[in-house]
């Protein structure tokens, strides 16, 4: 009896687990990645979908076989024992060939998506924006008309006087026209070169819609590049545990048309 119950249960659980994945919804909430707004994200989504199909089928197959065998042999009156046809040899062979091939194929395919984000540097005409993560806010900096960023002096950081980056405009000419913002405003369809540094501890930059996530590592200057394709406002959240305000560390990504962006930038520098 227990065997039969287990068999039914495991199959019901397997099907029930798959339903939200197929229907994209669970208890009324959408449980699927939001619409992609980047040029590189489609490849990541495709990779995710393909992995979902392969992993999902393996999951269902294994749970079903487990259910069937336990239904058939669980708690039965002791009868003659049988061995699985072919024994261990074919199972090992199947695992090595099928799973090995699957793993290599997925690994190789996924490399392309990864490479698009990480293996090429940002193009020369990408818009450079600096982002600083600190407990518990992001600040963004644009180079201003001179195209040069002022030097950062950590000891000069003074949030009370809005000197979030620790600039020294008195002695540092390029710093004078730098534009600082609490919101990441970018033009659509233009490559952005994000230069990342952390002020205090580790943080992370995550925008679901952009399919972008990258840690900030104190002491390391990291860079990231992406192109957003859709005008709108999206949330940037911190995904690396950074302290008590971690859950509340966020900023907005505001994607504008090039015209609107130019206007915004001009308004900022006045």
């Amino acid at each position: 009896m227990g065997g039969k119950i287990f068999a039914v249960l495991v199959i019901v659980i397997a099907i029930a687990s798959a339903v939200p994945i197929i229907s994209h919804t669970f208890l009324g909430a959408s449980v699927t990645p939001p619409e992609d707004i980047s040029t590189h994200g489609a490849e990541i989504d495709k990779q995710l979908d393909e992995t979902m199909v392969e992993a999902g089928l393996s999951f269902l197959a294994a749970q079903f076989v487990l259910g069937f065998f336990v239904w058939q042999f669980g708690g039965r009156k002791a009868g003659p024992l049988k061995n699985f046809p072919g024994g261990a040899k074919y199972l090992v062979l199947a695992a090595v060939l099928l799973v090995g091939a699957e793993a290599i194929a997925l690994g190789a395919l996924g490399t392309k998506a990864w490479a698009r984000v990480y293996f090429q540097p940002a193009s020369a005409d990408a818009l450079p924006i600096q982002v600083q993560a600190g407990q518990f806010a992001f600040y963004f900096r644009y180079a201003g008309p001179d195209g040069k960023f002022g030097v950062i002096h950590p000891e000069k950081i003074d949030e009370g006087n809005s000197n979030f980056f620790g600039l020294d405009p008195e002695n540092d000419i390029p710093a004078r026209d730098d534009i600082t913002s609490g919101e990441l405003v970018i033009p659509a369809n233009k490559e952005i070169h994000l230069m990342m540094h952390a002020k205090d501890v580790g943080h992370s930059f995550y925008v679901r819609e952009l399919r972008i996530q990258q840690d900030f590592v104190p002491g390391l200057d990291l860079s990231l590049h992406f192109t957003a394709t859709k005008v709108g406002k999206y949330e940037i959240v911190c995904t690396q545990l950074c302290g008590l305000g971690h859950y509340n560390m966020k900023a907005y990504l505001n994607v504008m048309s090039q015209d609107d962006f130019d206007k915004w930038l001009k308004a900022q520098s006045q």
Partner: protein, 591 residues
């Protein structure tokens, strides 16, 4: 120690209570002590998860009595965001170190490894006692963090630097609490190293006559392989913790770079690397996952064979797979760090062996499934938990396939998908192994049988409950729900609250269902029906001791002699359908 025979009793049977039950040299008592400690840790860890789950769905609801645990962390019973993180840190640390490492490996391993190889005790009984009591001290140090000034650390069980390294400036809990955490883990590492050495020496030196390596049960192999992994893994974490302590109290800068402005203070450190901590931690951290799961794989295989009344399709393949996993576990630590800022090319180097781990894991699953075919599978609480383990191992395993790929990790990293993945495969699956082992070995450990009806009820509730908790974690992750948040205030996270409510209710239910197990454990220990020496008609040496529990020297002054492979089931013999390893009889034809 006597040179004459490896089986000589190293110490006389104690008479006083203290030497018998407290500072005991007997591996069986030490095994039970580890089990009891793991039980205390798991109850504490589970309570913490309840508090976190309740806070997530009702952040402003005062939890009755919580203010007594921490006046600062939970004024009026309402948890602060930092206290949530502290509880999360303590939950992870307790569960990974004091439950998943202690119970399947140290507790069962201590009790049954010497029995299964026909030894009278561990190779170094004093070391053994020392390992347990050192672990106990580590546990006390960790728990004491609850009661210091600004509370337990909040940097997570991974304690990423510089958050964990710079001290008070980086937040509440990062004062003395974090130092105690690092000290506790440092001490824990010493204990685990001693234990692992002891297991290895015992396995290699104290096997009884006829017990060749090939005749060791799968679970003995699992403990042996785990010991080898533990020896290398804890040996890295221990110095890493020491460096972290030095950064915190000694003014060094191993993990802290220059120019950090934390809480308006320029930190007096320079030249360190936060990534160094991550590398050292995960070089331990990934093998640690297998330290938790390999003993469970061994336990489940061992019990399943007994329940199926026939050997696995191949014991050797399972043992080779465990070795393969152990070997690969040292080449994959970087998959925790795809987005950490290390060279993006190295992501591919770490991704490939990670994907390859799927191969031994799949082979083992197929061997288990294939072996079920044509068996006379007995259904009881122990075997149900083994079957549940296989189901969980598959469910938690396939999600690893996503996270092993750096491109997908860009989206899923640090989301609840990861939380679902590791809870299923190393948390729940390993705990199912512990439950299976408990139901199976309880008669040997106590001399009493556990109540079967309660055991089954416990399984049904736990099996359904854990799926209800951890499957939806994956859905949340796919929706991009970030982990380690004490509240979901972001616009895109608010619509996911119904899912969180469902998970919290499931967690409360499943946690409460564990009372069935706890009651069964305590009741059966005293009132359970008397167990015979071999109630499951098993073949391995732990069942050939003259009594349950075994006498002090395990085999009553005899040295068992082994004649067979460990799993002579489904054979024609004078006893029934099995032959014990100690039976000189030759089996009739196997079907």
């Amino acid at each position: 120690m006597s040179e004459a025979s490896p089986h000589a009793v190293h110490h006389a049977a104690p008479t006083g209570f203290i030497r018998k039950y407290v500072f005991s040299l007997d591996h069986k008592i030490i095994g039970l002590q580890y089990y009891a400690l793991a039980l205390v840790a798991v109850v504490t860890g589970m309570m913490l998860s309840w508090l976190m789950r309740i806070h997530l769905i009702a952040p402003n609801w005062p939890i009755p009595g919580l203010q007594f645990l921490s006046k600062v962390g939970a004024p009026g019973g309402v948890m602060t965001p930092e206290y949530y993180l502290s509880l999360m840190t303590m939950h992870g640390t307790l569960m990974v170190f004091f439950v998943l490492t202690n119970a399947p490996f140290a507790a069962f391993g201590n009790y049954f490894l010497p029995l299964q190889i026909g030894a009278e005790d561990m190779a170094f009984p004093r070391f053994n006692m020392m390992s347990f009591w050192t672990t106990f001290i580590a546990f006390c140090i960790l728990i004491s963090a609850f009661f210091v000034g600004d509370g337990p650390p909040l940097a997570g069980w991974t304690a990423y630097a510089p958050l964990s390294a710079v001290g008070k400036d980086s937040g509440p809990g990062e004062g003395l609490g974090q130092t105690l955490w690092a000290l506790s883990i440092f001490v824990f590492c010493i204990a685990s190293l001693l234990g692992a050495l002891n297991f290895i020496a015992t396995t290699l030196d104290l096997r009884t006559k006829g017990m060749t390596l090939a005749r060791m049960p799968i679970v003995t192999w699992a403990w042996f392989i785990t010991s080898c992994i533990a020896l290398l893994a804890f040996a890295v974490l221990m110095p890493a913790c020491l460096l972290l302590i030095l950064d915190r109290v000694g003014g060094t800068s191993f993990f802290i770079p220059s120019g950090l402005n934390i809480s308006d203070h320029i930190q007096p450190h320079q030249g360190g690397s936060p990534l160094l901590w991550q590398h050292l931690f995960w070089f331990f951290g990934h093998p640690e996952v297998y330290i938790a799961i390999l003993p469970a794989i061994g336990i489940v295989s061992h019990i399943l064979i007994n329940s199926m009344r026939k050997p696995m399709l191949s014991n050797k393949v399972i043992i080779y797979c465990m070795m393969g996993i152990g070997f690969l576990s040292y080449m994959v630590w970087g998959h925790h760090m795809f987005l950490s800022g290390m060279n993006p090319f190295s992501a591919l180097v770490f991704s490939f062996p990670t994907l390859m781990i799927t191969i031994p894991a799949t082979i083992m699953t197929l061997i288990w499934l294939g072996s079920l075919y044509g068996s006379n599978l007995r259904i009881n609480a122990a075997s149900l938990f083994c079957l549940g383990f296989i189901s969980m191992f598959v469910s938690g395993g396939v999600s690893g396939f996503f996270l092993a790929q750096p491109s997908i990790d860009i989206y899923l990293h640090a989301t609840y998908f990861v939380v679902g993945h590791f809870h299923m495969v190393m948390g729940v699956a390993a705990i199912f192994g512990i439950f299976a082992g408990t139901y199976f070995w309880f008669p040997k450990m106590t001399g009493h049988m556990m109540n079967e009806t309660w055991g089954r009820l416990h399984f049904w509730f736990t099996f359904i409950g854990t799926y209800c908790i951890f499957m939806p974690f994956h859905y949340l992750g796919l929706a991009g729900n970030v982990r380690r948040y004490s509240a979901f205030t972001d616009d895109f996270l608010v619509p996911l609250l119904p899912v969180h409510k469902f998970i919290t209710y499931s967690a409360l239910f499943t946690g409460a269902a564990q009372l069935i197990f706890l009651c069964n454990l305590i009741y059966s220990r005293f009132k359970g029906p008397q167990a015979t020496a071999n109630p499951w008609e098993a073949t391995s040496l732990e069942w050939s001791t003259p009594s349950s529990p075994p006498p002090f020297d395990n085999f009553g002054g005899q040295h068992p002699v082994v004649y067979h492979d460990p799993y002579q089931y489904g054979v024609q013999s004078s006893t029934a359908d099995y032959l014990m390893q100690t039976s000189p009889e030759r089996a009739g034809e196997t079907p």
